[in-house]
Amino acid sequence: MRAVRAVLAVALIVVGAIILARMIHYPIAAGFTGIILGLAMIGLGAVRLRALYGRVDRP
């Protein structure tokens, strides 16, 4: 289960990076929302990875 979650988190980071790379070429408003969307996906993937493997307090 842990491995599946890790794969999903990595997939989220990859999709976020693709969106980021693709939307960066578009005009300012569309590109900017795409960039934030990509960054949010990368951020969520990183948060999930940190929760899985990082040093966090567990209840």
Binding site: A29, A30, F32, T33, L37, M41, V47, D57, P59
Partner: protein, 534 residues
Amino acid sequence: MSNARKPELRRSVTPWGSFSWGYSDVGADIFVGLGLVLGAAAGASNVAFLFAGIVYVCIGLTYTELAATYPVAGGGQYFVMRGLGDFFGFVAGWAVLLDFTIDIALFSWSCVDYLSELLPVLSAPVYPWVHFIVVVGLIAGLCILNIVGVRESTAFNGFVSALDVVSETAILSLGFLFAFSPELLVHTMQTSWPSTFEFMKGISLAIVSFVGLESISQAAEETQRPAAIIPRTSTALILTILIFALSYANLALGMHTWHPIPLDAHGHPQMLWQWLGNNDNNGKAVALIAREVPYWGAIAAFYVPVLGAILLLISSNSGVFGSSRIAYAMAAGGLLPSIFQRIHPRFRTPTISLLVFTAVALSEVTFAALPSLDPHMASLYAQRFNGESGIDFLGDLYAFGAATSYSFVFVALVALRLTDPLSPRKFRIPVNIPMRFRGERVEFPVIAVIGFIGMTAILTFTLITHPIGRIAGPLWIAFGIALYFVYRTRKGLPRLRSRRRDWRTEQIEILRRAGELELMDEYVANIRESDARR
């Protein structure tokens, strides 16, 4: 002081439980917000969501820090009371109460809208009386269930939340994969960019999609090891909701539909966002967009309306539950008359609070439904309120209540950073300016100031662009302040000043009850060190 301990809530909410508790409330918002924003902000809907989303990230981080530092069930009202005193605590709590009553009305309304996708007899434009009666019945039913003390379980919330996350991920992934065209998105944004007024209206409505973070802090008192768990679940929740909102907005503007879009009322062809944002469809936009995703839409057309309706019903129920509990907490804190604390002898629920705030929600639904029920009222609304629809009116007030209470929460964070530097903060918002205040080292939160400016802008947009919201919202606050002054005067309590409280003892008790014993020891050590310095 009595040795008898107050009854405590059982700490049984796990990390996933904490996430799903918040998700079942905030996650439902996009089901309502998407159509409203598309109707107002047109080709700039994604930018409207982005503006509101950035402010939402700021408020989300603020709630995360405060809920992890003060894990009590009061939420925003408690943080503001503690940071800014009784009066502002009351105003923030009263604004949250407005939001909870709108929550009941708006989400029940939208729940029936989603069901109308499968049962056309519930369609508001075609059968307004049936729609109205079913919404009223739903609200009354939720009130009765809450009086009797039946609540949806955390396990049920978790199941629905998981189902919804998977479903929305599928809709968005397949939509972007098979139907999205970045060129169409750019074209729509260039050709359908709204006027400044419409854009401001869109931003003020976009905040509707991000309301409900109160739930995580409401659940803090029942969460295991809240200081460690809340930052994890809250950050994941903030990002998940932001991703869904931005994705839906971009998809709606740049998607080629699977089926031809019906012509508009004048027989002209229309774009997807126009169809989703019109008065007939803006209450069920997510179900319609799901239906237009190639291949998956065939299945989604059946289950998304049901899933949306369930999520919206849970959110509506959290309004019934939350309003009564906030009123109870405010009465316990001396901010509202003690009648709101009265417990039913048999069911042990705050019956008066439940009945009062359900009645407020019913009156809001009636006001929202009047134009569709009576043609005379429709012409009156068209004259006085620019012809706002019922769901628009509820959205207006929702945005007003959220912007008001969130503005106070930002200020409360700044105040608490300055006046309570000794409380250990397991999660601290990034970007701070170190400084000294009253002999203590404190960190001034820059993000809270940015968030406050953004939220004040949204509040200003709400007042400028919503003809009903700018009257009804401030009237609600003014009525509450009058009630507060009368109550405080009759009880001989200070009106503008606060009652004396021993926050240090209370904080130790809060951390002890939370099971955060290490933090409690750290707090006691901080106090001793500070006292020794003085």
